[in-house]
Amino acid sequence: MNDLTKVSIDFEQSHLVFPRLIAVVLAILLIAIIIRDHKRILNALPYWKGVFQNMDKMRFLGALGVTLLYFSLMVPVGNIWPNTGSGFLICSIPFVLIIGLLFMHERPMRSVISLSIVSVVGPVSVWWLFTYPFFLTLP
């Protein structure tokens, strides 16, 4: 019995001990979930179809796509004027404007003007705050 509880850990392999243990526990839990929720799992495809059918595709996928583009462009644009945070500033202004327009329900001129002001004032203020008083480099 005493030998069963004895454990010797090789330092060279010690980085794998805990991840393996957690992986085993996760596998056991996953099996339990599959057994309990097998009906739900079998209905996963119709469920996800329903999610995509019911979602506001324009706003959801649009927000995701614009965010992806925003993240991708920030560094290349910033590299044109390095260490100035201009990548963040130049990309954030259209990002805020486009996301704002995307999330608007009606687009009367007054709301678009106020959004345009926010999309310039917001990023410029944040860029100034982080670049000067905080001395933090933005992309």
Binding site: R59, M74, F88, S92, L115, L138
Partner: protein, 494 residues
């Protein structure tokens, strides 16, 4: 002793509380999101001033949720869920202002009582925890994970989420500074450069609580805001403190329930307010009035959820285990300043500890003054259009993620990965709170577990090390047995 008190310190608390109330007042935005978004601002503020801002946001965020709960019947934050039950009926019969002020006073009471518990209890718990070896520390984390999973809405998914959080936290190298061998695990070849230290905590948190929340809203088509007419603060019946006559027990009981729920890791404010509310209803002489505009219901709910604020800081500051998702983010503020929270924190950093207590006290008072005297203006916040707020929040999320490790773009991608993961996770019914706690505690759990075995070479050490280990095992078994019983009871009821 109180050198940290400066005009900046005070204005950060007041400003933080105000911004927190604004976040809490807008349905879909939470105290956690407020802290996540404002975290990068704490970089240059120093620890005490940074914490002043974040604690103000926390108290304000939890309190602000009562505004839409009462005026619109929509909880601004999950912790105000039961405030809607009696608050909204009161508003509908023209007692909006009275209901709001009852909630505000109850929030103050809950906040102050929990602060007192924090002040008295956390140092004692920390003193006790100093004696813990790796074995007891591992068992404490194991206990925290079992409690957290057991109190999830779906126990099995809760446990799975907690372990998944641990697993993802282990990605990267086994840190040499923690006594590890520095070797990589769980990372695809070629990604060592980015994943050397694994996923950073803060981008993960910001993704899960900032981006995922906005994706949720985008999926629903960003529901339209409310007009000024929807949030008219009616005052057919004036507020008077006499409404609290006979409610002292309710206030104290609810505040203590909230505090206790806060101490339990990973259990959020919604559980605090629901437990307080059901208890108040059970012990009430007029339980039939609950749900129809009974002030005692608002008192229970609001003192319960604000009771959470002090309670959730107890395990964080004494054991290094966050009590809820917002306090998990506070770990980020400490990490930014290079300070590790745990049993030694209060003894080693009395200045920071005092600053936190004072900040919480002032935040509660500021919350009360602002909301009590300017509630009509705060009510209007509910009408602020989301198309102006969400893009700015997304931008702040990017700043937070990018600046966290002094300018690493991979952290911004981490934010996106975990934002999408957060959105998918809710669809798969994974539980975010256990995931987060698992993610935060995973690396420590590994070190404590492996080092215990390296030192003693025997699994029985986890039981035989000390009487504390035995007590912890009893607590672990008790929490698992309790949760199985609760889950069986709810199944038979259904």
């Amino acid at each position: 002793m109180f050198e940290f008190i400066s005009p900046l310190f005070l204005s950060l608390i007041v400003g933080g509380t105000m911004v927190g109330i604004i976040f809490g007042s807008i349905p879909g935005m939470t105290a956690t999101m407020a802290v996540a978004v404002c975290l990068p601002l704490t970089y240059s503020l120093g620890l005490e001033n940074g914490l002043a801002l974040l604690l103000g946001l926390y108290v304000g965020g939890i309190s602000g949720g009562l505004v839409p709960a009462i005026l619109l019947g929509i909880p601004g934050t999950p912790s105000s869920i039961t405030t809607t039950l009696d608050g909204h009926p009161m508003a509908q019969r023209g007692e909006g202002e009275r209901a709001l002020k009852i909630g505000i006073v109850a929030s103050l009471a809950g906040g102050l009582i929990s602060l007192l518990v924090l002040y008295l209890f956390a140092p004692a718990l920390a003193d006790f925890a100093i004696k813990f070896s790796y074995v007891e520390k591992f068992l404490i984390i194991f206990f925290a994970l079992t409690v957290m999973a057991a109190l999830s809405s779906d126990m099995l998914m809760g446990i799975f989420s907690g372990f998944l959080g641990i697993f993802i936290a282990l990605i990267g190298s086994y840190d040499i500074s923690d006594g590890g061998n520095g070797k990589y695990r769980l990372i695809p070849p070629g990604t060592e450069y980015w994943l050397d230290g694994g996923f950073s905590l803060l981008p993960v948190l910001i993704g899960l609580f900032g981006l995922a929340a906005i994706l949720d809203q985008a999926e629903l088509g960003v529901p339209k805001g409310h007009s000024a007419n929807d949030v008219k603060v009616t005052k057919a019946n004036k507020f008077s403190l006499s409404v609290f006559r006979g409610q002292k027990t309710n206030v104290v009981r609810s505040s203590l329930i909230g505090t206790f729920v806060g101490i339990l890791p990973g259990v959020g404010g919604s559980a605090a307010s629901i437990l307080s509310y059901t208890n108040a209803k059970t012990f009430s002489k007029n339980p039939e009035n609950f749900g129809k505009g009974e002030p005692a219901g608002i008192i229970a709910s609001e003192s319960g959820n604000n009771g959470l604020t002090g309670g959730a800081l107890v395990p964080l500051l004494s054991l290094g285990i966050p009590g809820d998702s917002t306090t998990a983010l506070l770990i980020g503020a400490f990490t930014l300043q290079g300070i590790q929270v745990g049993p030694l924190f209060i003894g080693n950093s009395p200045e920071t500890w005092n600053a936190m207590i004072i900040a919480m006290l002032i935040a509660n008072i500021a919350m009360f003054i602002m909301m009590y005297f300017a509630i009509r203006y705060f009510a209007k916040i509910v009408t602020v259009p989301k198309h102006l707020l969400f893009p700015i929040i997304l931008m702040m999320c990017v700043i937070g993620a990018y600046t966290i490790n002094y300018g690493i773009m991979f952290d911004v991608w981490t934010l996106l990965i975990f934002g999408i993961f957060g959105w998918v996770a809710t669809k798969l019914r994974l539980e975010i709170a256990p995931f987060i706690i698992g993610f935060i505690l995973g690396p420590s759990a590994e070190v404590y577990f492996v080092k215990s075995l390296e030192s003693f070479g025997d699994l029985t050490i986890f039981v035989t090390k000390s009487w504390i280990a035995v007590v912890l095992w009893l607590l672990i078994i008790g929490s698992i047995a309790g949760s199985v019983m609760i889950s069986r009871k709810s199944k038979t009821r259904a």
